[in-house]
């Protein structure tokens, strides 16, 4: 486990402390300061950084894969990989070919970067970054230049190859989909980190409304705690609804809270509203098939967006909408 600290004032205020382990994803919208953070860690931007903050760029034991891969266009593939290597030309070539073999590109050793595809360039850049045996590999938006079909494939290959070098990876991206492969994640919001931890835990229980919004939760609504059922177990009321939800301990009756639920967790049923817990009568504003999904929007008593896999029955089949207690997210407002 490697602990990175970064304090920046310019060009953006950042205060970050991040533990990197295995594959770690740092998410953030464009302009949130992700690239500034990477550049500061690398030493390309002045800032207070730990560790290695007192070393010049070339002495920091870091590997870096920028967005466009930045291969040297005037050097052949093997020369690119050999760039950071010391020794005689023959030694450097031998070592470069070994590295190219590891990423499966030995046959392209004598080509120029302009002749390679995006994925090939990325692997050459990986081999080049690994030639220095860095203690940490930094990747800037590795999926930004790839289309969706090749994205997963290339990212998987990249992650496997990097892991074969046994170097921890810090990936900076706006692509929430990358979390699927990650060991740890964090989200950069307003210059600070939120939602730090294992992706499964962060996705299951986003620590704040902003994190939930960032991770793509669709439905948000406010209410008050009516009564406390048990530890972290509450009845919450709104203008014309009453729901039971789990949340942080220590809230008391009367507290304002924010609730949320993902669209795929909103369930429809043919039973009457009073037959189930957390069931509300539903009137549809929208109801339609979208490829393999059926998507719907309900109005009163709560405007909700929902979807389920499968072919739609007619909307009149359904009499109520259920917001399962275990899927409701709850934060103090």
């Amino acid at each position: 486990m490697l602990r990175l600290r970064c304090h920046l004032q310019q060009p953006i205020r950042l205060d970050i402390e991040l533990e990197v382990d295995g594959l770690t994803i740092l998410l953030g919208r464009s302009g949130a300061g992700k690239s500034s953070f990477l550049r500061a860690v690398l030493g390309l931007l002045p800032g207070q950084v730990e560790p290695w903050g007192d070393l010049p760029v070339e002495q920091r034991p870091l590997g870096y894969l920028p967005q466009g891969y930045a291969l040297f266009p005037h050097l052949r593939v093997w020369q690119n990989v050999a760039f950071p290597l010391p020794g005689s030309r023959a030694q450097r070539r031998r070592k470069a070919l070994e590295l190219l073999d590891r990423v499966g590109l030995l046959r392209l050793a004598d080509q120029y970067p302009a002749q390679l595809s995006g994925g090939q360039k990325q692997r050459v850049a990986l081999a080049r970054a690994m030639a220095r045996k860095p203690r940490l590999l930094l990747l800037d938006e590795p999926t930004s230049a790839l289309d969706v079909q090749t994205r997963d494939e290339i990212v998987s290959a990249l992650v496997e190859e990097s892991q074969s070098f046994e170097v921890p990876l810090l990936v900076v991206s706006h692509d929430v989909g990358l979390c699927a492969r990650a060991d740890r994640m964090a989200i950069l919001l307003d210059g600070k980190l939120q939602g730090v931890g294992k992706p499964a835990a962060v996705f299951r229980e986003p620590p704040s409304v902003q994190v939930a919004q960032f991770l793509g939760v669709e439905n948000f609504f406010g209410g008050h705690i009516e009564s406390v059922v048990g530890e972290g177990d509450y009845w919450i009321v709104g203008p014309s609804w009453r729901l039971r939800a789990r949340g942080p301990r220590g809230l008391v009756a009367g507290n304002a809270v924010e609730l949320a639920i993902r669209s795929e967790h909103v369930r429809l049923t043919a039973e009457a509203p009073d037959a189930n817990e957390n069931a509300l009568a539903c009137t549809f504003a929208e109801y339609r098939e979208e490829t393999l999904w059926t998507r719907f929007v309900t109005v009163a008593p709560l405007p909700l967006e929902g979807r389920f896999l499968g072919i739609a029955k007619t909307p009149s089949t359904y009499r109520s909408v259920i917001l399962p207690r275990e899927n409701l997210l709850l934060w103090p407002a």
């Binding site: 030493g43 390309l44 070339e58 870096y64 930045a70 040297f72 760039f83 950071p84």
Partner: protein, 270 residues
């Protein structure tokens, strides 16, 4: 439908071909027009009585050796300056760019007069320098200084463009791969900018070799080829101009020509 669209398409393609041919013909005419005066070098020259005027060989030696020195000075001083101006962008950069244009805009004769008054024996700087044994009027150093003033701004502007075409990211990547700024400059910046820099060198060479106006005022002596041509014309006549002009082209052209050919070959690789 086919019967109407096909002739149309043929007609358009035909028009395109005629247009291209007309443009090609026009281009050839313009080039021919530009080169036409040079035909005199073949037609008006007396090939039977081909000989050098007195002082021609000396002028060739002066022009070649001092231009080489002036070019070296332009490269040594101009390259770091051009790099610095490209990479250290600030709000003063446009001002510096504008100031660089001043020597370019000044008519060469006027620049020569300014240099003569600045470095001449009656000016403060000139007096100071001559006290150290450096006389900058009608001496070899004066000749080189005149050429440097004529060629350097061209070199800096072209070199700036060459460095500007190298992505800063590649220099940064080089640093993250363990190279110092100096090593990154040699291994990445210079090779990537070398076509543009070669162009800058060629341009500076041509400027230094051919400079007349500045040299005429500051360093009439030692006579370089352009001044010798002027002198031959006045003292002997046209017959004495052509042989020296031939030599001038033979010695001045190879460098830019070689640079042009090299850049074409390299473009094919990149």
């Amino acid at each position: 439908m086919d019967s109407t669209t096909t002739p149309l398409r043929v007609l358009r393609a035909g028009q395109g071909r005629w247009g291209a041919m007309a443009l090609g013909l026009l281009s050839l005419l313009i080039i021919a027009g530009l080169l036409a005066p040079f035909s005199e070098m073949f037609l008006a020259m007396n090939w039977q009585r081909l000989h050098f005027a007195p002082g021609d060989v000396h002028a060739i030696r002066v022009s070649l050796s001092y231009s080489a020195i002036a070019l070296s000075i332009c490269i040594l001083l101009g390259t770091p300056l051009a790099w610095w101006m490209t990479r250290r962008q600030s709000r003063w950069t446009p001002v510096l760019d504008g100031l660089l244009l001043v020597p370019l805009l000044t008519p060469p004769l006027a620049l020569g007069i300014l240099l003569a008054t600045f470095f001449g024996p009656y000016a403060a700087v000139g007096t100071l320098l001559s006290r150290w044994g450096l006389v900058l009027v009608n001496t070899a150093p004066a000749f080189v200084v005149a050429q440097v003033y004529a060629a350097m701004p061209y070199y800096i502007l072209s070199a700036r463009a060459a460095f500007g075409a190298v992505p800063k990211e590649l220099e940064e990547i080089s640093r993250t791969l363990g190279k110092t700024p100096w090593q990154s400059f040699w291994l990445v910046t210079l090779p990537l900018a070398r076509l543009g820099l070669a162009g800058a060198v060629a341009l500076a060479w041509v400027r230094a070799m051919g400079e007349f106006g500045v040299v005429l005022i500051v360093a009439y002596f030692p006579m370089g080829i352009p001044v010798q041509l002027y002198q031959n014309l006045q003292d002997i006549g046209l017959d004495a101009v052509y042989p020296l002009l031939w030599v001038f082209f033979l010695v001045a052209i190879p460098l830019p020509l070689w640079v042009g050919l090299r850049s074409r070959r390299q473009n094919r690789v990149l």
